[in-house]
């Protein structure tokens, strides 16, 4: 009887030590599921999901405070990927958060009108606007995520939304399913 209790207690202590050591040694800094969700989000940082950026939204999904259908820039692809990752059923985009954009856009500043107030620079989540006080501002189009957060603060309405330039590098063969529907012809 005593040997049994002692040996079990001994085992418990040994495994406890191993687990305790492992918990310290192989500690994972942040919750990896947040990283995984964050990796699937489009990183537009537009805040349309009602959270201040993509990572806060990922954290909210992890805590169960937000649903997976609140990201308009990601659209259906992101919702499907999130549903796949989290093992839940996909659902249509919540219209309260906005509409899916037909094509990718960036913004440009009309440099003749800009008064150099720096308000848009402060609003840009990815530092894609270059300029200084009373100096002309310009958008680094390569870095712009198309979040449009710079438009409301502009006092002179000199920021416009333009579609991203299409290049041969980013050209896609048409989806045969779609061409069939649209033109009655595929290929």
């Amino acid at each position: 009887m005593l040997t049994a209790i002692l040996s079990l207690a001994g085992l418990a202590i040994v495994f406890g030590l191993i687990l305790g050591f492992a918990a310290v040694r192989f500690r994972v800094e942040s919750d990896p599921i947040v990283d995984k969700i964050d990796a699937l989000l489009p990183q537009t940082q537009c805040g349309q999901c009602t959270f201040p950026g993509c990572r806060p939204y990922a954290e909210a999904i992890t805590k169960g405070e937000a649903d997976i259908n609140q990201c308009p820039p990601g659209g259906d692809n992101t919702i499907l990927a999130l549903a796949d990752l989290l093992g839940v059923d996909p659902k249509p985009l919540n219209p309260e958060n906005g509409e899916v954009k037909e094509e990718k856009t960036v913004v440009i500043i009309d440099e003749n009108i800009c008064i150099g107030c720096t308000l848009c620079i402060q609003a840009c989540p990815v530092d894609a606007i270059l300029g200084a006080a009373k100096q002309m501002h310009t958008v680094i189009e390569e870095e712009c995520t198309g979040c449009n957060l710079c438009i409301p603060p502009c006092p002179v309405e000199c920021i416009y939304i333009v579609p991203v330039k299409k290049t041969i590098q980013s050209w896609k063969w048409p989806d045969p399913d779609n061409t069939q529907v649209e033109n009655g012809v595929a290929g």
Binding site: T44, Q45, P125, D127, I168, P174, P176
Partner: protein
């Protein structure tokens, strides 16, 4: 040297197609009148776009370098004739998107005057590095179709020993006969090119694979190669797609190139016979890659034939030389009927990889394709051992992870599955769609990673600023005595008030004076 290779192997699948090769082999290769205007896309091949080094209004000579390579997978571009650069702008090019791309436009002066040529005949005394440098400078890319810069393929790296050079003269696709005619007419040049490549690779021997439906080409090449014991000419059975790099390697050596590897990983390098000819010209004649032989064929062309055409010649000029189109609305295809793609503008120029212009009635459209009946014929003919049906389902369902598990990127888009499909499903269209979709998604992923980094950096910067401001504030508070501070402030305010008062008084005095 004339030898019969001991054994040939066979790849799985493949098709026997109607050849349609006799129509275009009746006439010898001929050149065409000098076009008035040449349009040279800066993107001639896979890899990075070249950078223009001439500007509008510049006079150029034939063979003069007009664009410099940028990046490793890139080669220079040369002026195909002498004349004036009249524009550098976006023009229609031969691309399935029918989008415009950056081109240098040269108006020919009609003199066709060469820049000073530097032929090199003593290539035997040059090192492999020097040979590759010369091939790079001549702007030579693979002329069989994909257009990978040749100097890279001739540079397997220190650790890889290349034993075998394979020259691809299979030309398996219907209608195309430009390699056939080139081998018949310029066999000696091709063999010289092969000798240069052998030296650049330090390879032991060269196999030249030619399909047995080209007896004249085999005879000509055998005659030219008879002086060399390390060059073997092999007649291979006619079966589409033997001309695929990996398929030809399998037929000639029995070796299979592993997934995600290059032929050089198994000691083999494969080049097209037309590339060998371009290399011959670069060394012996000192001419860069500014022209190529191409086939014009199809039932909508008056006279099918092979032509030596300057790079940059508009398709319409080439077609006119062949008597024009019978049906003006015929669809134009660049490349063969199996792997080519439709061109929407007759003004699109010939590029280095354009081996065929095909004008024929479009009878291959999959206008009313029917559902897949899972007959499995596509899997039987696939030369890469893929499961085309599964790939189709996953492309249809847009499941791009799964489709990569089924090795979509090993698909060579040969079109065999498409050809045999009883439901007329445009299978290759689905694969091309899936491939480009995956590429674009990858590009977007990279972009979003950059956006994440920039956002995180901005957040940390804002936090740092806030912290620093708070610290400065704290320091200020700590350094100055409170009561002292108050007095100082009071004094400053008082001073300011005094100044304003003095100013006002002065103004009033002025006004009074004025009155």
């Amino acid at each position: 040297m004339l030898k019969t290779i001991q054994q040939l192997w066979q790849f799985r699948g493949g098709l026997h197609l109607e050849e349609h090769k006799d129509e275009s082999t009746l006439l010898p290769i001929s050149s065409i009148p000098l076009p008035k205007k040449l349009v040279l896309p800066l993107q001639q091949h896979l890899g990075q776009t070249a950078e223009a080094i001439v500007s509008k209004g510049d006079k150029v000579l034939k063979g003069q370098k007009i664009a410099e390579a940028s990046g490793y997978v890139s080669v220079p571009l040369h002026a195909p004739t002498s004349g004036t650069v009249i524009d550098i702008d976006n023009y229609p090019i031969a691309h399935p998107s029918s989008m415009k791309s950056m081109c240098i436009v040269i108006e020919s002066d009609g003199r066709d005057q060469w820049i000073e040529k530097h032929p090199v005949s003593n290539y035997e005394s040059m090192t492999p590095e020097q040979l590759r440098e010369h091939i790079f400078e001549a702007g030579i890319v693979g002329m069989g179709g994909a257009g990978f810069p040749s100097f890279i393929k001739l540079n397997p790296g220190e650790e890889k020993k290349v034993k075998t050079l394979i020259l691809n003269g299979a030309e398996c696709e219907p209608y195309i006969t430009c390699d056939d005619m080139l081998m018949r007419e310029q066999a000696d040049n091709i063999i010289t090119g092969a000798r240069i490549m052998l030296r650049a690779l330090q390879a032991e021997h060269c196999l030249i694979g030619i399909e047995n439906n080209k007896p004249e080409a085999i005879a000509a090449i055998q005659k030219a190669a008879s002086a060399f014991s390390d060059i073997e000419v092999v007649s291979v059975p006619t079966l589409y797609p033997t001309g695929g790099e990996k398929q030809l390697i399998k037929v000639l050596t029995g070796l299979e190139v592993p997934n995600q590897s290059f032929p050089s990983d198994i000691g083999i390098v494969c080049h097209n016979v037309a590339t060998a000819n371009a290399i011959y010209r670069a060394f012996i004649l000192g001419e860069p890659s500014i022209s190529r032989v191409l086939t014009v064929a199809g039932n909508n062309i008056e006279t099918a034939r092979n032509l030596e055409v300057l790079i940059g010649t508009p398709f319409s000029d080439v077609i006119n030389v062949c008597g024009g189109l019978i049906n003006k609305n015929a669809s134009l295809v660049m490349g063969g009927p199996m792997m080519g793609f439709q061109i929407h503008s007759e003004q699109a120029p010939v590029i280095k990889t354009c081996n065929c212009i095909l004008a024929r009635d479009d009878n291959t459209s999959h206008e009313h394709h029917m559902p897949c009946i899972r007959c499995g014929q596509c899997a039987e003919v696939c030369p890469v051992n893929l499961l085309p049906q599964q790939l189709y389902w996953y492309a249809h369902a847009r499941d791009f992870d799964k489709i990569q598990d089924y090795k979509l990127f090993d698909c060579i888009e040969c079109g065999c599955c498409d050809y045999v499909c009883p439901s007329d499903i445009p299978l290759v269209q689905y694969y091309r769609f899936a491939k480009t979709e995956i590429w674009v998604q990858e590009q977007e992923k990279q972009k979003s990673d950059i956006a994440r980094q920039r956002h995180e950096f901005r957040n940390s910067r804002l936090e740092r600023d806030k912290r620093e401001r708070a610290e400065r504030h704290k320091k200020k508070l700590a350094s100055s005595d409170k009561s002292d501070d108050k007095d100082k402030k009071q004094k400053v305010i008082q001073d300011a008030l005094d100044r304003v008062k003095a100013k006002r008084d002065a103004q009033q005095a002025n006004q009074n004076n004025d009155q």
